[in-house]
Symmetry: C2
Subunit: 523 residues, 2 copies
Amino acid sequence: MMTEFKTAEQMAGEQKQISIAEFFEKNRHLLGFDNPAKSLLTVIKEGVDNSLDACEEAGILPDITVKVKDLGEDRFKVIIQDNGPGILKKQVPNIFGKLLYGSKFYKMQQSRGQQGIGISAAVLYSQLTTGKPTLVRSRTNPNNKVHEFHIRLDTVKNEPQIIKDVEYEKNFPDHGVYIEMEIEGKYRKGKQSVDEYIKQTALANPFSKLVYHAPDGNKLSYSRIVNKLPRRAKSILPHPHGVELGVFERMSKLTKARSIAAFLSKDFSRISFPAAKKYCKLAKVVPNTKSDSLTHQEVERLWRIIQQAKIMKPPTDCLSPIGEATLEKAIEKDLNTEFVAAITRPPAVYRGNPFGIEVCIGYGGGLAPGNTAEIVRIANRVPLLYEQSAGAINKAMKKIAWAHYKVEHKNKMPYGPMIVLVHMYSTWIPYTSESKEAIDAYPEIQKEIRLALQDCLRKVSRFMSSKRRRMLEKKRQSIFDKYIPELAYTLEKLTGEKKETLEVNLKKIIHKELKKDEKDESS
Amino acid sequence: MMTEFKTAEQMAGEQKQISIAEFFEKNRHLLGFDNPAKSLLTVIKEGVDNSLDACEEAGILPDITVKVKDLGEDRFKVIIQDNGPGILKKQVPNIFGKLLYGSKFYKMQQSRGQQGIGISAAVLYSQLTTGKPTLVRSRTNPNNKVHEFHIRLDTVKNEPQIIKDVEYEKNFPDHGVYIEMEIEGKYRKGKQSVDEYIKQTALANPFSKLVYHAPDGNKLSYSRIVNKLPRRAKSILPHPHGVELGVFERMSKLTKARSIAAFLSKDFSRISFPAAKKYCKLAKVVPNTKSDSLTHQEVERLWRIIQQAKIMKPPTDCLSPIGEATLEKAIEKDLNTEFVAAITRPPAVYRGNPFGIEVCIGYGGGLAPGNTAEIVRIANRVPLLYEQSAGAINKAMKKIAWAHYKVEHKNKMPYGPMIVLVHMYSTWIPYTSESKEAIDAYPEIQKEIRLALQDCLRKVSRFMSSKRRRMLEKKRQSIFDKYIPELAYTLEKLTGEKKETLEVNLKKIIHKELKKDEKDESS
């Protein structure tokens, strides 16, 4: 029996490094590849989000085509073509064939991608389920050739494997990227479908042209609602209140600044050089000491002083909302709503990260009555279709006193022909999982969502009141209208005036009176 | 304006590899370090789970001490000492200072740890929040010296940094590991507390001795309930039905087997050599072809044939349940319950992974009435304290018709002085996140949980029926008892017999009759 058991030596022989790619291959549900239907959506989402990010960064109005072909036996071919800046030849393999590779993780800048996992995870999923490499074509300039790669991801090493690498001049747009993948998938309609994702993406990116060929043969085209890119989100320095002791210490060791005071004022936002010197003195650290020569105790004292100091909030020109007017226009155009109102709140901060919330509420038109209101959740212009009942947006919505705003509700959620769109934009969205499906319910974020909803609902409630008033008035008017002919008939007999003339005059008088009533009511 | 925008070249300059350690540092909520209270629990959990795994693997009855000291200013010192086999000197830095390093990821074996993230994540969290290295002492043998390391994790490289490394002969147990960490934390009581985790760990590991010094000065000791380690969980080969095409192809390229038929029969469980040859023929592949010379098409054909073939379920001697008798004993001892029943279901399979479910239900005793029943969720002997409303166990419980088993219920969950323990054990637990808080709701897993609950509830329902009967009887008896003195008094007057004698005799008669009734009822 004892032979079954192991010594420390035997155990040591079994311990080894685990590849990040193998880890996510085995735990692919963490990346949004739980099941075939969700996987099809995730692959498309990762591709389109990258295209939109690249276009925006390059200042190009996006023009994106998505094609999904059903190959039978639960297999699909996904094609995504954009008019973005293209990807340099030497970067293509890393971007598609390596997990945790990207340009956005270390920047504090609002973008769709954050972690450098998305598109390479799609490549991983494709080869896991079909064994096929991913085809990528890229051109960065009309004077350059088109580069075509067939890429796999070596999961043991987390390195790209180039199966084929050719270049040619061919029928290809001046610049852009073309991706073709084969995956195991399932095509579904409904709230968590690719169709819905494309529709909501068009809504959240109204400066984009999106064409989508669904596997059932349908073609959906979304044209631009605005012809201008949003304000470019700038990259900012970290705010001192969002940096933990361990990170602060590491930064102090790796900085290029020549002194600790210079480090504070150059590597963080909102610390001036005089303020930096003041914090140093309070922490009993000589301001022109070399930053990496500080002891742990000195670093910790300095960090504590800074955490307690009153420091200006981070700059907010790094944020780029969709905007009230654009949101209203997009919802109105899409749903032909009777009423629409949007609110973009001034930016706030959680853990040193600036963020903003905007809310748009539409009523009537193409929206279905007799249902729970449609909830659209968006994070940095990316629609979130899964985990609706989790996270900050859901929590904030359940705290709203809908009745107070004359909005019908059921189970704490709005009810009726209504759409409620909530957009959070930030330099860092705290997702509850790698698959980016819900926003972590930080108190500061929840509060801002609640305030934005309430701001917007005040407008809604005015509309709902006047809507009710108009309905009542119409009812009264129709009652009067019903009796006018009878009254005219009686008056004709009494006065000898012609019935038709009397009717016209009576109508004039009554409508004038009703209008007066209305004015009195609303003043 | 255009200068803000970037070309493909400029973008390429910003793209780089992201360190897995930096990724998890920035996303520490994914590892269970969401907030100070949960972080304190997570650190202790990772340490204790590792100690238990090591002891079990080495065939040692665990004897673990946990000390938590409040250092003020939201800082805590956590000390964990075990009597396990110890860790070899050269392995200590990797195990504590490198994420994704371990012995369990590639094995198909039931164990608490799976991914090689836990304890190194705790080291990462400690240095992030306090800047302090982790102290580790280890001895593998009474003849060896004690090795002491002070370790940090270099997040940029995901490599251990050894701050101090000494060895000495000192007052230290013959073998074992001692860990000391300083972390930012918060000590709370209640359902998600360290106290509760220790209590449930003792319940799920009744062969362990656990001593816990809480930061409030309380000392909790849990002695062994059984003096024998559970059956050792064996490591098994992957089952062909649990292997995806991409992994199958990779295995076929990396195998040491000399032919494709040998590969199938040696690298998988439940494929005999004759069966392997048969599958090869069906897939039009020559059985003695070298495995790595197959084309992708051939590999895919073979994989499809095997997926469709009827193959015996994986072996189940790799699984180690707690056991019905031990569970009942543990619950009874802990809660002094009036009734307890346990069920260990025969093993089942999801995605090629064997797993088992056991359920133990206790009633009365130390359990509080007037509350929702206590739910204890355990996965491979590790209590899950967070995300109770997510995952397979919750979903399965909500589908139970509690009333059918005469169990009180509220909001689809059992109600009253009751404890319901559900344990899933498997070679691979599909957690919904890296922080291992809930089990993914695979249909096969949900079904087995439901069946186990129902099996156990049948026993409960018998108890509840007889409990009700006993209560009714007691009520009747007390009614009779009330009238006996009056009856005796009347009979004394009529017969002249002494009242006291009459009373005694009447009681005897009545109780005999009641017992007879009871027998008639229950037959």
